[in-house]
């Protein structure tokens, strides 16, 4: 029992009397192998408690060997185990014993489930920092080599993520070996390993000496970028970002740019997509000069690529690209070299491309200023507002704030209105739902007067939509509008219209009144709620449809806290009591619930 006395466990009782503090730990240990995954998971998550109770010695000699062999378990248990072990150094006796954690993590680094392997690698990286330089070379580096030369590719992929953490602290001889291992993984037979190596290339380059970057990393990068598998080549684009940051402009031009140019024109659309997707990062990494000479022409090509996915990815980057151009000469470059291509995209054949562009194009107005926006961008916005694809129109509408700052929304409102109305009446309810979500934003931009004149009727029409999700969203929308325009506006414009629906022949519409009251009462405050809403709710308690009646009970429960005690006692209570005697069980149930929640019972 020598090691069992950690903090939290008392002195060990001798003889037949069990130690009470041991019992919970004993349960946890037994549940490490319970049939029920949840219990096993629970035990693994409390592994530190178990280790604390066992003490450092028994944790090292008994618990860790057991855990090393438990890699048969469910992924979620293994994931939790891999995570726990990353923070275990203290529990095995501190940095001097950190290497004891390597065997279980090594076996976790070879399982087939990527998330588990990645977590094991993450924990190994964490633990590597706790090794002394001597322990690192004695234990950690051999582990990396073992993984790197493992029979199965799972272990070799895991090795790729460990080079960069042990390299900086290794001696020169070991450094050479590490580089050698990394090199061989970059030309591994299996694409999985080459992909893992390619994705860690940039990270590894950062910890290498500049000479080695030039003499070793660049050739590896060039090779990976011309791999026969496009799934490998596309990862080299990412590495390009990191490597470019390390090199001088001349080296960059000579060593990296030929490969990057080649990637931007790769035969495989997936590689070109990657260039488009990483464009902003690349732009920052190579600096303004190369951007102007090389990247802008490449970007123009991507914007008119034959594959729609590539054009869409490039269109997404238009705004960022323009923002990141050097302020000097930016306007000219955009106007002469980017805008002509954007104009083409507005009438692209593919709707994903158009909607990608629509999601960023408004951002250009702040960069180009008022006059250019009115002269060049406005026609594009207007064209997109009339696009046949609802997503394009929605993307424009959702970004109106950018334009509002520059030219004011009035310029657009003439075209905006028909677009909004059309979306509001779209046959697809998801489109209607999307435009409702933007209503509060639009109301803020357009102002109360415009709203009352043009949009209010739309908002009320949604309340009687035949799709419940729309009615529900419309109710929430009203609440947000009231928060924006204030209670006085609500009292004059919204509330009367809502209350009229209480006597609608359709019971669904009558229920909408109740839902609106639920949503609006808080924003409207006590006076409006008591004077205008409550009487209507109470009147509806006599509705012939039970659904309406039990929603009355629910509404009363909801607005009860806003009302004063007089109203509660004199008006609400009798009605709820009456509903409590209703013939319908649901009505009874909700009435009684309301009575007890409001403490009226």
């Amino acid at each position: 029992m020598a090691g069992a006395a950690g903090p939290g466990t008392g002195p060990v009782a001798a003889g037949g009397d069990g130690d009470d503090s041991l019992y919970p730990i004993a349960v946890l240990i037994d549940e490490l192998r319970n049939e029920d995954v949840q219990l096993r998971l629970n035990s693994i998550k409390k592994l530190s408690t178990i280790a604390l109770a066992l003490g450092v010695e028994r944790t090292r000699t008994e618990l860790l060997p057991f855990l090393t062999d438990t890699i048969y378990d469910e992924d979620e248990v293994l994931l939790a185990l891999a995570e726990q072990l990353g923070n275990f150094t203290g529990l095995v006796g501190g940095p001097d014993f950190a290497h004891c954690l390597l065997p279980p993590l090594e076996s976790l680094a070879t399982v087939e489930e990527t998330v588990v392997r990645d977590k094991a690698v993450e924990s190994l990286r964490q633990i590597s920092q706790e090794h002394t330089p001597i322990a690192l070379e004695a234990h950690f580096v051999p582990l990396v080599k073992r993984l790197a030369s493992g029979d199965w590719f799972t272990s070799r992929t895991s090795a790729c993520g460990l080079f960069s953490v042990c390299y900086p602290r290794a001696s020169n001889a070991v450094k050479a070996e590490i580089r050698q291992h990394f090199r061989s993984l970059c030309s591994d037979d299996t694409p999985m390993v080459r992909r893992a190596a390619a994705s860690k290339l940039g990270e590894f380059a950062k910890v290498l000496e500049l000479d080695s970057v030039k003499s070793e990393i660049v050739p590896l990068f060039t090779n990976l970028a011309s791999d026969e598998q496009d799934s490998v080549r596309l990862l080299a684009v990412e590495a390009c970002v990191s490597i470019a940051q390390l090199l001088s402009q001349e080296d960059l031009e000579a060593l990296v740019m030929p490969t990057l140019r080649q990637a931007a024109e790769d035969k495989s659309w997936r590689v070109r997509y990657m260039v488009a997707d990483k464009f902003s990062e690349l732009q920052k990494a190579v600096g303004p000069k190369i951007t102007l000479n090389d990247l802008i022409p490449a970007f123009q090509n991507l914007l008119k690529d034959c594959e729609a996915e590539v054009r869409a990815a490039a269109a997404h980057k238009v705004k960022e690209l323009c923002e990141n151009l050097p302020p000097e000469g930016r306007e000219t470059i955009i106007m002469n070299q980017i805008l002509p291509f954007i104009k083409e995209l507005v009438s692209d054949t593919n709707q994903h491309v158009k909607s990608a562009l629509a999601s960023v194009i408004m951002g250009l107005s702040t960069i180009l200023g008022k006059e250019n926006t009115i002269e060049h961008l406005l026609p594009l916005f207007l064209a997109q507002l009339k696009d046949e694809c609802p997503e394009v129109r929605l993307n424009i509408i959702s970004n109106l704030d950018c334009v509002n700052e520059v030219i004011g929304i009035r310029q657009l409102s003439q075209s905006l209105l028909p677009a909004i109305v059309e979306l509001a009446e779209d046959a697809k309810w998801r489109v209607r739902l999307a435009i409702i979500e933007y209503m509060p934003l639009l109301a803020g931009q357009l102002g109360v007067q415009f709203f009352d004149e043009k949009l209010n009727s739309l908002c009320m029409a949604w309340l009687v939509d035949h799709v419940y999700a729309i009615r529900e969203a419309a109710t929430n929308n009203l609440m947000k509008l009231v928060k924006k325009f204030g209670t006085e506006w609500a009292q004059n414009t919204i509330v009367p219209k809502v209350l009229v629906m209480a006597s609608d022949p359709n019971y669904l519409h009558r229920m909408t009144t109740l839902f609106c009251i639920n949503a609006l009462s808080e924003a409207c405050g006590q006076e409006i709620t008591t004077k205008q809403m409550l009487p209507i709710v109470l009147k509806m308690a006599g509705d012939q449809v039970a659904n309406v009646r039990f929603n009355v009970a629910k509404s009363l429960q909801k607005i009860g806290p806003i009302l004063d005690t007089d109203a509660l006692q004199e008006e609400v209570k009798p009605i709820l009591q009456k509903l409590g005697q209703d013939e319908d069980v649901d009505v009874k149930y909700f009435a009684q619930e309301a009575l007890s929640v409001l403490a009226l019972a």
Binding site: M1, A4, V12, A13, A14, G15, G16, D17, G18, D19, L22, Y23, A26, V27, I29, D30, L32, R33, L54, R58, E62, L63, P65, F66, D69, Y72, T110, E112, T114, D151, W152, F153, T154, S155, R156, D189, T190, P191, M192, V193, R195, S199, E228, Q229, D230, S231, L234, L235, E238, K267, S268, W269, R270, V271, Y273, D277, C306, A308, E309, H352
Partner: protein, 497 residues
Amino acid sequence: MKRGSHPGCRPALGCCQGPRRDQLQLLHSPRGSVVRWRGQSCDSQQDALLAGIGVLTQDTLWCFSQVKGTIEIGATEADIISTVEFNHTGELLATGDKGGRVVIFQREQESKNQVHRRGEYNVYSTFQSHEPEFDYLKSLEIEEKINKIRWLPQQNAAYFLLSTNDKTVKLWKVSERDKRPEGYNLKDEEGRLRDPATITTLRVPVLRPMDLMVEATPRRVFANAHTYHINSISVNSDYETYMSADDLRINLWNFEITNQSFNIVDIKPANMEELTEVITAAEFHPHHCNSFVYSSSKGTIRLCDMRASALCDRHSKFFEEPEDPSNRSFFSEIISSISDVKFSHSGRYIMTRDYLTVKVWDLNMENRPIETYQVHDYLRSKLCSLYENDCIFDKFECVWNGSDSVIMTGSYNNFFRMFDRNTKRDVTLEASRENSKPRAILKPRKVCVGGKRRKDEISVDSLDFSKKILHTAWHPSENIIAVAATNNLYIFQDKVN
């Protein structure tokens, strides 16, 4: 499901295979897949037999090795084998059946003193892969029948395979366990609870060796992406994606992602009344991760390049043989429908099977096949009755041997055919219980067409069309074949002295 694709950069479940394993084994075994030529020494008993077989034999002598499955006649429908597949090393052999079960056989270690028993296959693991289901929205039953099995290249000590029925693809892990934890705190070894008051020390469980246990666990279920029946699955050489093809569409999946797949081919016409063609089979190129082929009911094959575009509705190559107008008949279109398409191991050729022939196409020549082999041309006069008993719609598969030099495919009456591409010799063999004595050499069979029937010949009219060999498999590097005959699996090997 999304139309269009994304460059997946996540690592996937695919797998590793060091230096190509078939090449390795060729190096290590002097036999390898080199065919044995007639005239080499045989034992005396078989010399006589050989003389009798004469020129009809192919150069490899095939002998019986094993038969799996029940002997009783009238096996249940569920026992009918619906797919056979060796893994990449030939170490394992998987079969799927109409009952939704997958049976995996493992090759026994070769022992030196029992040369003749080299590599017998014994049951390694059996599991229920698919269950019958009911699609309530369409009021359709979904059969549990396993349509295809594909092995993943091995990635760690466990084995992985994909199995599919008409609608759902599943990824299975088959792994071994030989250790078991022992020792509880709160109960003793017999499971009796201990009095908590007697616990004075904590016990950590210890792992002890136990009898080997093989477990099959479902790792991923790829469902809800196919409206029509899945006919093919194929693993990509990038090891992170695979495709599944149904009658009208081909979807691309990442092994890690089950809730999304990309539709890469869609031949569904806007108006289903204009439907003239369906996809019958599809396969990825063995080395080029960007190419795949799919075959159609019109007897054509399309090669698509995924680099060119996210949607592969437009092919980059189109393989079609001009129809011979003299052979045109009511059945022309039915019998030209391709039932299977397979890339050669080298990736240079594609083989297609239609009702009466096997064809080999060179990827570089689209206008006609380079080789055409008649599988059972004697059926040409019987097409009418084969149409009436629906046999004309049977989907025969075809396989390559390890070195792409021999082709095997099935026929009726439990016959299967082999064609040697170099010598142009062909042979008909029979999978039957009758000559299933260990190491018995398979006698070539001959179907006679005209009136005079010679001894040992079978007349076309006496062929049993209910005994069909649709599914066969060839070991990736050795002359070992697996032949599914209804509910029995036959394993044959080449004759070794």
